[in-house]
């Protein structure tokens, strides 16, 4: 097994599937010669040609919209949104067309498509590059939403998503592309969607998180352990499908829960998680469920973004509040 960064793991998954399945075709802005603005597709056009790794005009709606047609023709398109924040320019195609084409066509046209989209903060990008919009996609029936937190999962889940007959929005944390590195099998393997990962077990409280926030949760759990608390971390891996069984088991064990994400609090996916926990594990609860999220403001400029994205300190403070309730 080799240690890889998340971006290397993603690149290796794309390369392996391009090699394995000739129906796979990548399309996006700057993904060819330039290898993607984060180098996620570096070297792939050279290796697979400009007809399979396709540089597209700067137009999100038609990057996604043409992928719908490509899928109807029998291909497995992998459109890349340069940033999830720009996905709003294609939201009508994703929510209105990609997500429901199978339904609209009564099963004739499936959408075996993976929409890749970097997102998330702490990297000093200009406006709209860092927004965490996952909840509105999770609220688009017909779509699946994957949010890997490790390099291993990035490769295994991306491979799984590419082979899934349903469309998957695959969100990649900007901050994690190079910071997150772990051991990744070189051989072919998949990680199923909808199966949460127990990062660490805990008897006093469980933090439920996904994507780069899992790293924050782990650090906070370590600090809490130093204070004598046993805090677990559950990595959801995907929002749709949601692993409600894992949520129930984790909360049943600890009796206390904290949900954590980088998106603003109001109508964030944390609200869905809190609702699910109370449905699944209400009688196990020893205390009200805590939420740590970004503030209900637009994603701010770089000088204050570290105050906006949930930090280890904010998570720790919330852990204490829930434990002391």
């Amino acid at each position: 097994m080799a240690v890889m960064t998340m971006v290397e793991a993603i690149r290796s998954a794309l390369a392996a599937e391009l090699e394995r399945d000739e129906r796979v075709l990548l399309l996006g802005q700057d993904i060819g010669v330039n290898g993607g603005v984060f180098r996620a597709t570096e070297g792939l056009q050279e290796r697979f040609g400009a007809e399979r790794v396709v540089d597209m005009p700067l137009a999100e709606a038609v990057i996604v919209g043409s992928a719908v047609g490509l899928a109807c023709s029998g291909l497995v398109p992998v459109p890349e949104l340069q940033f999830l924040g720009f996905g709003s320019q294609a939201f009508h195609q994703i929510e209105g067309q990609v997500a429901r084409m199978r339904f609209r066509s009564h099963g004739r046209y499936g959408m075996p498509m993976v929409i890749r989209a970097p997102f998330g903060g702490n990297v000093r990008t200009p406006e709209l590059h860092s927004d965490a919009h996952e909840a509105k996609y999770a609220g688009s029936p017909g779509l699946k939403v994957a949010m890997p937190a490790t390099a291993r999962d990035a490769k295994g889940m991306l491979t799984e998503a590419l082979r899934d007959p349903d469309p998957v929005l695959f969100c990649e944390p900007l901050r994690g592309y190079r910071l997150i590195k772990d051991e990744v099998p070189e051989e072919d393997f998949t990680v199923p969607l909808g199966r949460a990962r127990t990062v660490r077990e805990g008897d006093d409280l469980v933090i439920v998180a996904y994507s780069a926030a899992v790293v924050i949760a782990e650090k906070a759990a370590e600090r809490a352990a130093a204070e004598g608390y046993s805090v677990g971390v559950l990595d959801l891996r995907s929002l749709v499908p949601l692993d409600a069984d894992a949520l129930r088991e984790a909360v049943a064990r600890s009796g206390r829960a904290l949900v954590l994400h980088e998106a603003p609090l109001t109508a964030g996916f944390g609200a869905e998680l809190v609702a699910t926990i109370q449905e699944e594990a209400f009688w196990s609860l020893e205390a009200p469920i805590g939420r740590v999220a970004a503030y209900d403001t637009p994603y701010p400029p770089g000088s204050v973004e570290d105050l906006y994205v949930p930090s280890v300190e904010r998570v720790l403070a919330a852990i204490r509040t829930v434990l002391e309730a």
């Binding site: 137009a59 038609v62 043409s66 992928a67 047609g69 291909l75 067309q97 339904f103 017909g142």
Partner: protein
């Protein structure tokens, strides 16, 4: 007043005059059999419009947009395609083109009665589903054409949209991409003068929609959309070019919506009756009738027999669609996912009363 809505100064190409005479020197590619086939499709469209309207008023059909007035634009373009390898990507006012590709009237009745099975295209029927989100289908058509070509097919995609949809961003993005990728697409823009109540001069200040083609690096043609021969001729050339790898074409078929936008619309609120009367003189069905009668291919008696037979066909399709069991709650859940999340499986079980 002209029989066509004018914007700017560009003049549409006309081969079959309103009096039924053919432009000097033009020989249509449609032989007598094909002509009668097209004639039948146009009359069938009228019969369907009439029956569907009646059914909607009786509460047996949902909202429906009639083709009325646009038959030559739809039939002329569809008859330039080869249903075995070419594709139709409709908006929602192109039923004759979909039927030519193998879609059925029974499915159409299902679609307009709110049965999800109505949007199913049987394998081999090269049609994408009805599209209610205006212009959203245009990027699909480009991707579909690109994908066909990528896989070695010489199939061509004909995508339909209107003057209103041309204002959407999706239309621009798709036309631009098609030009860049030289995708084998025929963009059939039916300019019927109206986007519900918005007249075409409020959609664009350009001399024609066809003129936009130059900006996308593709061929553009402006034709009389009520002229079966002009539409068919322009489309045939566009299909030939696309098949040969010479890229897409934007065809503006200038026609006129002679009925309401749909069954909920009352055009008397905004259409000048004099204008409507003047435009009726351009009726594509009447025009083809004059031509075929002059050629001795049809007469009033044969038309009456054909119309009665076509209406009986529609009635049989309605009976077939109505005889089927109405969809149950499982219709909400079928085909949302190929592999449904566990949560949705639970919802399905709760809604259908099946064991979860």
């Amino acid at each position: 007043m002209s029989t066509l809505p004018a914007i700017g100064t560009d003049e549409p190409r006309c081969l079959l005059a309103p009096d039924g005479t053919v432009a000097e020197g033009h020989v249509t590619a449609l032989d007598d059999a094909a002509l009668l086939d097209a004639w039948r499709a146009m009359l069938q469209s009228r019969a369907i419009d009439e029956r569907f309207f009646s059914l909607q008023r009786q509460g047996r059909l949902g909202t429906f947009s009639p083709v009325n007035g646009e038959e030559a634009a739809v039939v002329g373009s569809a008859w330039a395609l080869d249903p075995a390898r070419d594709w139709v990507v409709p908006q929602y006012r192109e039923l004759p083109a979909m039927l030519r590709q193998g879609y059925t009237v029974t499915r159409a009745v299902q679609y307009f009665t709110g049965n999800p099975a109505g949007n199913f295209m049987a394998p081999g029927v090269n049609v994408l589903p009805y599209q209610i989100s205006l212009a959203a289908q245009i990027p699909h058509a480009v991707g579909l054409a690109w994908g066909l070509r990528h896989q070695g097919s010489d199939g061509v995609v004909c995508v339909y949209f209107g003057d209103g949809a041309s204002s959407e961003g999706d239309a621009h993005e798709a036309l631009n991409l098609a030009g860049v990728r030289r995708a084998p697409v025929v963009f059939l823009l039916k300019n019927n003068g109206w986007a519900i109540s918005t007249p075409v001069h409020r959609q664009t200040a350009a001399p024609s929609f066809a003129a936009r083609a130059a900006g996308y690096g593709m061929a553009g043609e402006l034709v009389d959309g009520n002229d079966l021969f002009a539409v068919h001729d322009a489309c045939t050339r566009a299909v030939t070019r696309a098949r040969a790898g010479e890229g897409p074409t934007l065809i503006e078929a200038r026609t006129y919506r002679m009925g309401p936008h749909n069954t909920s619309d009352d055009p008397t609120r905004y259409v000048d009756p004099e204008e409507l009367e003047a435009r009726r003189a351009g009726d594509p069905v009447a025009r083809l009738r004059r031509h075929l009668q002059a050629k001795g291919l049809v007469d009033d008696a044969s038309e009456e027999v054909l119309t009665a037979a076509l209406t009986a066909e529609v009635d049989a399709a309605v009976a077939e669609a109505e005889a089927g069991a109405p969809p149950g709650p499982e219709a909400m859940f079928d085909h949302v996912y190929a592999r449904p999340p566990q949560r949705m499986a639970g919802q399905r079980a709760a809604a259908t009363g099946e064991a979860g």
